[in-house]
């Protein structure tokens, strides 16, 4: 395997509504930021890969338009995943492993504000049995939360405390949307959005964009004084039908974590893409991360959850902390789909 590292990361302010800028204009400063960090522009990358979904924009091939923000002339080698940008990074990482290229630009963006997000996300369910019911994202997460309660694994108070910790962590993250939180007792007076999920246990609807640069070997060392080396990277998918899954666990995360080698050495901190409060524990237990691991120092997806973007931000936040010397070994995780259906796990190390 070739040594590959995350060497640059940028994100815009994650906002409830970005109305004054188009997708291209929202993304453009983020791309310029990683260009400035690396001294590279479009033509210097072996590959460009993006993650987004046309369902958010309500426009076919919207991802082609946003290539404008990269400056794709003369023509560049590029690809797109209709998933979180973390999977775009996976595609780029595989391409580097083939030896074809040495560096890649990855970006992701999502504006949820123009549409009804819960309805939009219902369209990702299977078209025969679930999508016609318009089972929305919060309702499905509530189904999962209820099974966690029924199994006696966690309580509503646990989720309130998780929400408080994440949003308190976000106080040191100027890009996050929700920074700071009332205490758990106050939060437990919130109304239910969908029983048993109260407002604080749900992620904020967010518009945002992010970009990272990955590079192999010497190229990575040239671009960063302390690259965040990708020591393990794997993604797995649970069964499509919710009815055949045990929603209190995440088998795909457990498998991805094992393949990525999470348990091989101690973990200093983890960035987990857990949009709903009850999902953090599911992920932590699935990966075997104990209480010694600092979870979501950036505030996680409960503080900002731009669709198709929040997973890539987990990778970028973890890498930035490694590069800054805040830890030597980190886990970054991204999810996609309903009830943690698809999970990507990445192990990052400073040496």
């Amino acid at each position: 395997m070739r040594d590959v590292a995350i060497v640059a990361f940028a994100q815009c302010d994650q906002e409830r509504r970005v109305e004054d800028r188009s997708d291209v204009e929202m993304l453009s400063p983020v791309i310029q930021d990683v260009y400035a960090q690396t001294g590279m522009t479009a033509a210097d990358f072996g590959f460009v890969c993006s993650g987004s979904t046309d369902y958010l924009a309500g426009q076919a091939f919207s991802f082609v338009l946003t290539l404008d923000s990269v400056g794709p002339w003369p023509p560049i080698a590029e690809s797109h995943v209709e998933m979180d940008g973390a999977w775009a990074m996976y595609e780029a990482w595989v391409k580097i492993q083939t030896g074809a290229i040495d560096s890649a630009l990855i970006y992701a963006y999502g504006k949820s504000s123009p549409g009804d997000l819960r309805a939009v996300l219902s369209r990702q369910m299977d078209p025969y049995y679930v999508a016609p019911l318009w089972a929305d994202s919060v309702a499905l997460a509530a189904l999962q939360a209820q099974s966690v309660l029924d199994a006696g694994i966690e309580t509503e108070r646990d989720w309130a405390e998780i929400a408080v910790r994440n949003r308190t962590n976000a106080e040191s993250n100027p890009r996050a949307l929700l920074r700071g939180s009332p205490d758990a007792d106050t939060l437990l007076n919130d109304d239910f959005v969908v029983n048993p999920l109260r407002r604080h246990a749900c992620p904020p609807i967010t518009d945002g964009a992010a970009a990272i640069v990955i590079a192999a070997g010497d190229k990575a060392k040239e671009l960063s004084d302390r690259p965040a080396w990708i020591r393990g990277l794997d993604h797995r998918i649970d069964a499509q039908s919710l009815g055949v899954r045990d929603l209190t666990v995440s088998a795909s995360t457990t498998k991805a974590a094992a393949k990525a080698g999470v348990a091989d050495k101690p973990v200093d901190f983890a960035e987990l893409h857990a949009p709903f409060a009850h999902q953090e524990g599911i992920l932590r237990r699935a990966m075997g991360l104990d209480d010694s691991v600092d979870i979501n120092p950036s505030g996680g997806a409960l503080a900002a959850n731009a669709m198709m973007t929040a997973g890539l931000i987990r990778l970028g936040e973890a890498a930035t902390r490694i590069t800054n010397g805040d830890g030597d070994r980190a886990v970054a995780h991204a999810t996609s789909g309903a009830c943690l259906q698809q999970n990507l796990v990445c192990v990052l190390e400073g040496e």
Binding site: G58, G71, G115, R123, P132
Partner: protein, 171 residues
């Protein structure tokens, strides 16, 4: 089709051969600042573009970022409401929801002073006579609004056709 053997409890049920699951999503778009500037000017019968500081090309409508160089475009340029038909298509096929009677002509119009064609309809002449290089001008709506619908269509100016060499790089 394979015949199914149903459990006794639902033996009388009518087999489902197909399902229809209509879906509809509604979106509310807000024009970004750059687009807003363009639309506000269109209402005043002014067509504004943006010039790239790097390649100097003028894009109409205004865009915030040059699609070639990926740099912000802050300079504004007013272009003419006259131009050249670079490419066109005569529509002879009727389809559901069509607003105009066939035949009609869709065209890309390269406005004088712009480096990017604008999509529109050419009318005021027989469809069969529309051609590449045709000089046209905007037929403004009686009551312009913050919309491209402020230009009803593009009509011939009667000037001689533009030489191919003058617009060949814009095809």
């Amino acid at each position: 089709m394979t015949e199914l053997t149903l459990p006794a409890s639902i033996a009388d049920a009518e087999p489902v051969r197909s399902i229809r699951t209509p879906a509809r999503l509604d979106y509310i778009y807000t024009a970004p600042l750059a687009t807003t500037e363009f639309l506000t000017n269109i209402e005043q019968k002014r067509i504004i573009g943006s010039r790239c500081p790097k390649c100097s090309k003028v894009y109409v409508p205004i865009r915030g970022v040059c699609p070639t160089d990926a740099v912000p475009m802050t300079e504004r340029v007013e272009v003419a409401d006259t131009g050249v038909v670079t490419t066109f298509c005569v529509v002879n096929v009727q389809f559901y929801g069509q607003a105009v009677e066939v035949p009609y002509v869709c065209a890309t119009v390269l406005l004088d002073g712009a480096d990017m064609g604008l999509f529109g309809m050419v009318a005021g002449m027989p469809a069969a006579d529309v051609r590449m290089g045709l000089r046209v001008k905007a037929k403004w709506a009686d009551e312009p609004s913050k919309s491209l619908a402020s230009i009803d269509y593009w009509e011939p100016t009667g000037e001689p056709d533009a030489e191919y060499d003058t617009y060949k790089h814009y095809l």
